[in-house]
Symmetry: C4
Subunit: 256 residues, 4 copies
């Protein structure tokens, strides 16, 4: 357990050239929300667990009060008859070295299953509190970019201008070195809080790509909850601004 370790939970897997979908925690938890929603809706089955000393030294508590080590997991499911591998997890690496080590391990798995294409999912932080349903993309191949444009994904020159930090970006770059097509699809999001609304926009694109339909009720419910939280935050903000105006007026009182 002192190196990143892959634990196989199933023997004799029959998986044919699966597309790999990666939704690890990141900006707005957008990618994680989408991938885990699909794991649930498509009743995908956990086939592998990944443990690593590059994850936080932490356990999480299950409903029945047993614990499990922080991990990443690979699920196998079917979308419209085609095999799909889902890479999801509790945390990304806490170190730069770990990012390189873990992404390398994930691509070993991808090669083992002859994965022809990888989609990594994430959020693109806008820094604004307004909603934007755009899904932005980058990829490791210009042909792939042309294809993905058909699903409504936007591609903007040099964007994200600050690059992409973490597994979502690294996997796309590393995939090229292994001859695997890969794209990173990002839902626009304020970036401050979990964003199930942005996740819905991204999920719609994924559904088009896989030519499937999935129930989004749980995401919609989460989105409503978050919207009500954001509304309260906004109200507080406005109150604060109002108070500032008031206190400025008061400040003026004793000067004149």
């Amino acid at each position: 357990m002192q190196k990143s370790t892959l634990v196989r939970l199933k023997d004799d897997l029959e998986i044919k050239k699966p597309v790999m979908l990666v939704g690890l925690p990141g900006v707005g938890l957008v990618g994680k929300l989408v991938a885990e929603h699909l794991v649930g809706e498509l009743e995908a089955e956990k086939i592998m667990e990944v443990y690593s000393p590059h994850f936080p030294p932490q356990v999480l508590v299950n409903k029945d009060c047993t614990v499990r080590l922080v991990s990443n997991m690979i699920y196998h499911g079917k979308a419209n008859g085609n095999d799909v591998l889902f890479l999801v997890g509790d945390h990304q690496s806490t170190t730069s070295h770990g990012h390189y080590e873990l992404c390398s391990l994930y691509l070993d798995v991808a090669e083992e299953f002859k994965v022809p294409r990888i989609y990594t999912l994430g959020g693109y932080p806008t820094g604004k509190l307004t909603y934007d349903e755009t899904v932005l993309g980058v990829a490791n191949d210009t042909k792939l970019i042309e294809e993905i444009k058909n699903y409504g994904v936007k591609f903007r020159e040099f964007e994200p201008s600050g690059g992409i930090v973490g597994a979502s970006g690294l996997l796309v770059a590393f995939s090229r070195m292994r001859g695997i097509e890969a794209a990173c699809l990002m839902g626009m999001t304020p970036g401050y809080l979990m964003d199930p609304k942005s996740a819905q926009s991204l999920l719609k694109v994924i559904c088009k790509i896989f030519d499937i339909e999935v129930n989004m009720t749980s995401l919609e419910k989460k989105a409503e909850e978050m919207e009500s939280i954001m509304k309260k935050l906004k109200e507080k903000e406005e109150q604060l601004s109002f108070q500032e105006v008031k206190s400025t007026e008061e400040d003026l009182c004793y000067i004149g």
Copy 2:
């Protein structure tokens, strides 16, 4: 000394299937207080020392002005005729990697002595200044949970909701992979200061588990000292709040 190192202080140890009790420094020092109190009361004997470059690069000074390297130690004692190993220490690992390495080393020792069960002790931070004598538990096995409930330990779904960071949690998760039963028992504590009162609550549970009685005078004395410190802190806090109210009134003076 460039890797974590186990130093054996005794040969020919006759220890039969000992339960292991782990009390390393953590929230409120609750686990450390309980384990070290038992080491003293049960006159346990130090049998191993663990040194590691993952501990801070620090020495501590003894009463006679000699120094000793920061370390973790394993003691051997008897509780009601049964062998017990106590894992205590000055520090936990300062790195994530070190946590994985050291927990692995501790479980090698547990396997060597055929330890059937491990209790890791810790504190559960409530963030409130009021006292709560609850002892909360998690475990690596549902049967074990049922058994431990009999000793008054509470189990709450998904709690601690933030998981458990450090050796107390990792050892429970890793134990499962080695076929060792393990539970983490946590005294509720404000979490800001050393909490000997929470340690007493936890110690009472441990005494029930081991079917022993121990003198708690020293813990009670420490608890009284801490209570007097907390009382002073609270008074200061109230004074501060009172001043705030006053200063608000004063602010109003020169506006009107």
Copy 3:
């Protein structure tokens, strides 16, 4: 990809005793600006890429929305008929260990091509907002210092007094151990922002050393942009000071 890795893009390179010019990101981006400007003007060709887990775990996005891994690169060009190697890049190492590892790797390349001399380029932070066109130098050999003085580079006892952190300094020190002459040339710069004006001063010195002339239009344009930004910053600063004075006067109002 779990160690620093050199990727060769060209076979059968015919390069004769090239001088190596190093312009990695650093204070005011002065060294990077100069080296990348020369790579462009001399139409140097990329011959090697260096990847490392000591760089940030990040990809950058190209104009066509493909991504590339953060890297350092070596270019080959000709200056006045002589071979020159340019070492440029997106980032320096994020760890101390990585600095040692990468500098070692760069000097392996230098030895392979029988590089007789290395110039590392950087900025010298003055902490003042005024412009200074001085270029300051240090070297690993006193004869080399005498030679470089002829190109207008200034050498001041014990300066920079705080030493030089990063690859620019390490490469000069390590070069000596490999019998390679090396000097670090630093443009004076406020150090807060990208400084294309300081880069121009440094570039002029490099042109003298290589006995070449290069078009500086793009650097001049960047310098104008930065000057307009700095002007705005200064104005804001003055406004703020003015406001402070005013508010002090206002404060006085209600006391008297």
Copy 4:
């Protein structure tokens, strides 16, 4: 250069059972000041250099504008006819792991030369601005403590209560494991600034131990300079307190 490396500058050294004196940078630079003063006064000769990726990735600039890599160095000198090794340097390790690695390397050198005793020198931070000429000690052997008391070194139970961080402490603890007597001697110091006055107190003790006399003029001069700086700091502090009192009075003005 990717591991800590010892470079030998001299062959055929004739050194008989030398005492080792360690003065690396630390609290108040007390140990460094004392050891480097002795290196100068006893005209000790540099015999080894230690480089390490655990030092900052930095070069320092000499008077003649050549650079040298940050390093630790071992000097050989004679005190009253007896051989002495001095371990001095620019920096301590920046990582916990590096502290363990480097101390191990230093003790390999000590064993090679059959060093019978090591004194590590340091400062003991009092947190007060008043001067205290006490020299405090800890050691790895009670007999050694009794001997050193004769030189005026004070030993206080459990002090320093927070232990000793860094090479000064580790070397004393590690020495015991190698059968080498070792003590850490600490000059009391405010701990905020370089403290040549505390260094003088410590140097006097060392002179007694080695039965030598050394010229202290340069340390006295440095002490005077620092005293004048501290005087100015105190004046500023008092001015500030005075202003606070004034401003409190002014605050009261507009309330009443």
